[in-house]
């Protein structure tokens, strides 16, 4: 069993409800994401929000990102500190932080179709994001080059989004949000429509991102249960409770407790298959 402990709360969703035409779409959603501390390892957090199609995942995604205001309740995030993207995890022990309501721009958002400005080259788009990050001041170009090299995009910096493949566009979206410097990265259906080879690459890419900083927190909204579970440490299941109009978190599964987090080839284990079955029963 891997040794870990829970630190401060990084994100808290409190009594969140969202209505559409007086109909409750999301009702009384409560969950929190804590800093996971592993001795000697810089480890971010990867949580998945899983639910069936049409259950309200996209609405929850938009609300979490601050693009849509909830009708009730609130989403609180750790007030960001000026930290460089790859700063050492020593920060976790020292400075206390407070939670404040989320605003659009607090979270790095990667949309399902990896939307980018069609009129900007990849380099220009990345520069726009890098300029938002105070910690990169004066080093924007170096950071862009470094990320592009890491993510295998050095050759496409001068191209426009339309000249890129879907996989390249996804990597550009991820780099863009990383350059912006948010601790939170919100991904909408990142595994949707990917073939097996690309899927593996995306999974390792996300794991790499999660390890880039202690506070880096990936929130994956997906209906691809096995892939999402395989890379997460916690799973929130969005579903409907008996007699309730809208969707809510019906179950939280702590994969660390079950020894299913941060494990290679976890999908081959019996406990993993049982967990998948358990999740399916909750949907």
């Amino acid at each position: 069993m891997t040794i870990y402990s829970r630190g401060e709360t990084l994100l808290q969703v409190k009594d969140l409800s969202l209505y559409y035409d007086n109909k409750c779409i999301l009702c009384d959603i409560n969950f929190s994401i804590d800093d996971i501390i592993r001795p000697g390892i810089q480890q971010g957090q990867v949580v998945s929000v899983i639910g069936r199609s049409g259950i309200g995942k996209t609405q929850l995604f938009r609300t979490l990102s601050g693009l849509q205001q909830p009708d009730k309740g609130q989403i609180l995030v750790r007030a960001s500190q000026d930290t460089t993207p790859f700063e050492a995890p020593s920060l976790r022990t020292g400075l206390p932080w407070t939670l404040r309501p989320v605003h659009a721009g607090d979270m790095g958002v990667i949309f399902q179709n990896y939307y980018q400005f069609g009129w900007r080259t990849i380099e220009q788009s990345l520069r726009l994001a890098a300029h938002r990050n105070k910690t990169l001041k004066g080093m924007e170009n170096d950071a862009i080059k470094e990320y592009a090299a890491q993510f295998g995009l050095s050759d496409v910096l001068k191209r426009y989004p339309r000249q890129l493949s879907g996989g390249q566009q996804q990597r550009v979206s991820i780099i863009q949000q990383l350059l912006k410097g948010s601790d939170f990265l919100l991904l909408d259906e990142p595994f949707s429509g990917l073939d097996v080879c690309v899927l593996d690459k995306v999974v390792s890419l996300l794991l790499k991102v999660s390890l880039s900083h202690e506070f880096k927190t990936l929130i994956i909204v997906s209906h691809d249960i096995p892939t999402a579970v395989a890379i997460s440490d916690t799973v929130f299941i969005l579903g409907k409770k008996d007699g309730q109009e809208g969707s809510t978190i019906v179950r939280t599964i702590d994969l660390m407790e079950r020894g299913l987090a941060w494990e290679k080839n976890v999908a081959e284990r019996k406990e993993f298959a049982e967990t998948i079955r358990e999740i399916k029963l909750c949907l």
Partner: protein
């Protein structure tokens, strides 16, 4: 070639255009002589016009006026279209759009009172005529903006004014060229009308009115051919400029 949605090459298309034009002109030429001059006679008239300085002097006058009018029209259009995303200014932009239902003829006297001379009168009438059409087109571009463009800006932490700059001013700059290209025909069509109001400075409109007055149909149609050709040339030029300034429009 006769099936719906059939794809043809550019060469095939150009050959089709040439063939259909030849068939049309041949049919026209074979018609019995009447009031409408034959293509050959028009061709002779066109040859005479092209070699005369009369045509080019007048074309130059009209072109300068059109370009001036386009310049001011684009400035006014952009100003009010950009501001239309601010609720306070939206009624003004909406009013400008509705102004396209106004006829210029009824406003000539008011414009005469408001302007100093014939040159200003022509320019202001042209601008007044063009701006509502430009604004209508550009407002439609703004309204059709993909919501994800704003959302991406917001997720990058942009303020609303920064979103306006990135998504509308920078992001739609290529559309300005496209709108000018599409609406250039309106300016070109109106110039012949406004030049008739103040004929002292000349222009192709003035020339056209003079030829019409004497029922010189050969030169009227020859001049129309020149106007048509110049229109096509500017359409092509603006298209080239758009691709040159905004290379992503070619993708």
């Amino acid at each position: 070639m006769f099936r719906p949605f059939e794809k043809i090459s550019r060469t095939t298309f150009l050959t089709l255009v040439a063939l259909e034009a030849i068939v049309f002109l041949s049919l026209w030429q074979s018609l019995p002589a009447g009031l409408i001059p034959s293509p050959l006679k028009i061709g002779e008239g066109l040859g005479g016009l092209i070699t005369s300085s009369l045509l080019w002097d007048n074309v130059l006058v009209s072109l300068v006026l059109t370009l001036k009018a386009l310049f001011f029209s684009v400035l006014i259009t952009l100003l009010f279209s950009y501001l239309s995303v601010v609720p306070f200014f939206r009624p003004i932009a909406q009013f400008i759009i509705k102004c396209r239902y106004l006829t210029l003829t009824g406003l000539i006297f008011i414009f005469t009172l408001l302007t100093r001379d014939g040159s200003q009168l022509k320019l202001s009438l042209l601008v007044f005529g063009i701006v509502p059409f430009f604004t209508t087109s550009f407002m439609s571009v703004i309204l059709q903006t993909n919501a994800q463009e704003f959302e991406l800006c917001q997720t990058l932490g942009y303020t609303r004014w920064q979103c306006l700059y990135e998504v509308i001013i920078v992001g739609k700059a290529d559309q300005v060229f496209e709108i000018v290209r599409q609406n250039f025909a309106i300016a070109w069509m109106m110039i012949t009308m406004v030049e008739g109001l103040s004929m002292s400075e000349g222009g192709i409109g003035t020339l056209l009115i003079k030829y019409n007055k004497y029922n010189d149909l050969v030169h009227v149609i020859a001049l129309q051919t020149v106007i048509f050709g110049l229109g096509l040339f500017f359409d092509y030029l603006l298209g080239i400029l758009r691709h040159w300034f905004f290379p992503y429009t070619k993708l």
